[in-house]
């Protein structure tokens, strides 16, 4: 089974902890260090050497300081090197405007943040299906 390299971009420590507690033990997932906002992610990606592997899945929180999910998504899709990475948005609230806008920008999915463990597992399954496609 191939290993999927996942980056979570999330400013909320509780949400980061939760995410790691659910998924860090999964064998076919490699959780890269979490980023606190879009600026950190951009910096991380740009510092990757040409021979280093890019992440397969980037999970972006929408509401973050400095550079929010939507802005980060726009950066990724405008950049040839990163445009093919599956990027998804997950947010506490997702109104139709946000969904439409992010889909237009090229988000693989726009999800509402789950409130149960079961919800998290389902959400991740959906994200991973996008990567496999």
């Amino acid at each position: 089974m191939t290993i999927t390299r996942v980056v979570l971009v999330e400013d909320d420590p509780d949400d980061r902890d939760m995410f790691y507690s659910f998924f860090s033990s999964r064998k076919h997932l490699k959780l890269l260090p979490a980023m606190a906002n879009g600026v950190e992610l951009v910096e991380y990606l740009q510092n990757l050497g040409a021979d280093e592997a890019l992440p397969d899945l980037i999970i972006l929180d929408q509401n973050m300081p400095m550079m929010n999910g939507r802005q980060t998504l726009a950066f990724l899709k405008a950049n040839e090197r990163f445009a093919n990475i599956v990027a998804v948005i997950y947010s506490t609230y997702a109104d139709s405007n946000l969904i439409i806008e992010c889909k237009k920008l090229g988000a693989g999915m726009v999800a509402v943040k789950p409130i149960t463990e079961e919800g998290y597992l389902k959400m991740m399954d959906n994200f991973l299906q996008l990567v496999r496609k």
């Binding site: 609230y93 109104d95 139709s96």
Partner: protein, 434 residues
């Protein structure tokens, strides 16, 4: 005039001649009076070589009376700008007796600051014949007036006639209107900015409230899933209460957000098939309908113009209420029917040519006291105790706001225990109403 004296006339004939002359004098005096008071337009006088016609200059009777009676000032100036004629009204305007006005240069009644302008207008009027200008009369208690100047030609003898209109009232009205407009604009701006602030507030508050609320939901769920067995019975109850209260709060916030967003965006109306819309919603309620053994009767519904998402929300909220507020122990029966209505049949509130439809959503639920029929459309208005019926109390407020935005009406009719009926009156077309 024409009588030939004879030397041999007797005293008697002389006396007769004196009488005849007296009569002629009286007639002449009458004629003069008549001329002076403007009752005569022309005289025919018998002379040595036949009759001569004497017409009076500007003596048209009707116009003379008219000029005296009118509320405007009227003057006639000669080439030197001296007032040859003035009506009483102009004399009153400049607060002078008429006798003092006649023979004066008009310019002396014009406010000093406006005299150069008046001279320009005057010379222009002599050249182009007709002019209009606003000037001030008098220096102390100045009077704004409009001058209408026109050169009149009498047998090669040119005079300038001028109508002077008092603009005091007009200026006052203009001033008031301007003031009122400014007030209105200020109010409007205040309203716009407070509306904007309110929307901004509702949106930001709702978004930002959702994050900590989600934490409460997440961690109380974790407690429930992972440590429920370790809790005492009372602690389990507390957890249940936390979860249900936070779920309720989530509903509230989402509904406030929906409500505030209704003011913000104005999408172009599309074509909405209400029949299909209601069918779709009933599919969503499938499980509830089966559970409650509800019977739902949907008549023929029209196609209207509107915002589909918003209209869906209206019917969703009303049908959800109809199912929610059912009479315990009896099967809910809900009917959705529609009939066309002409605007005129609806009375004064909708006085135009538009065609409307009257949609009725009727149920046999618990109903409510009709004195609340208006209040139920307000934000957070709940008639039923929250433990009996879940919900935010915003559903009907949202429905009303959407129907208002569609230039329609929504009315509730009910009595406790008798079920309720919601009537929606909706224009078929939005285009002419925007």
């Amino acid at each position: 005039m024409g009588n030939v004296m004879e030397p041999q006339s007797s005293i008697h004939t002389l006396q007769a001649e004196i009488d005849a002359l007296k009569t002629q004098l009286e007639e002449a005096n009458d004629t003069l009076d008549a001329i002076r008071t403007g009752q005569i337009d022309a005289l025919v006088v018998k002379g040595d070589d036949g009759h001569a016609l004497y017409t009076l200059r500007s003596a048209d009777h009707t116009y003379r009376i008219f000029v005296e009676e009118m509320t405007e000032g009227a003057v006639t100036l000669n080439a030197a700008g001296i007032i040859l004629f003035s009506n009483a009204q102009f004399a009153a305007m400049v607060r002078q007796p008429l006798s003092k006005v006649l023979g004066c240069p008009f310019i002396q009644f014009v406010a000093a600051a406006d005299r150069p302008l008046f001279e320009q207008v005057l010379s222009a009027a002599w050249q182009d014949s007709a002019k209009r200008e606003e000037v001030l009369l008098g220096d102390m208690e100045s009077l704004p007036v409009q001058l209408s100047l026109k050169v009149l030609d009498f047998d090669g003898d040119k005079t300038l006639s001028m109508i002077i209109t008092d603009l005091t009232q007009q200026k006052k009205t203009e001033e008031e209107l301007k003031h009122k407009n400014e007030q209105l604009e200020a109010l409007n701006n205040a309203l716009l900015s407070s509306n904007h602030d309110l929307q901004q507030f509702a949106s930001v508050a709702s978004h930002d409230l959702q994050e900590p609320l989600r934490k409460i939901q997440v961690f109380s769920n974790f407690l429930m899933e992972r440590s429920y067995h370790a809790l005492t019975d009372s602690s389990k109850q507390y957890i249940d209460k936390i979860i249900s209260a936070s779920n309720r709060m989530k509903t509230l916030i989402v509904d406030i957000l929906t409500y505030s967003r209704l003011s913000a965006n104005d999408a172009q109306p599309g074509v909405v098939n209400l029949q299909r819309l209601v069918d779709e919603i009933l599919e969503d309620f499938d499980l509830k309908i089966v559970e409650q053994h509800a019977v739902i009767d949907v008549g023929e519904l029209p196609v209207v113009e509107g915002n589909r998402g918003q209209l869906r929300q209206v019917f969703y909220n009303l049908l959800s209420n109809a199912l929610k507020f059912s009479t315990p122990g009896s099967k809910p029966y809900i009917s959705v029917t529609a009939k066309p209505v002409k605007a005129v049949e609806l009375g004064v509130a909708l006085l135009n040519e538009e065609e409307y439809c009257h949609i009725s959503i009727r149920d046999n639920g618990i109903g409510f006291d009709e004195k609340f029929a208006y209040a139920i459309f307000s934000l957070f208005e709940k008639l039923h105790h929250k433990s009996t019926f879940e919900g935010s109390g915003i559903g009907l407020a949202i429905a009303k706001k959407i129907i208002d935005k569609h230039h329609g009406l929504i009315i509730a009719k009910s009595a406790p225990g008798k079920g309720s009926e919601f009537s929606i009156i909706l224009p078929l077309k939005q285009t002419n109403l925007r």
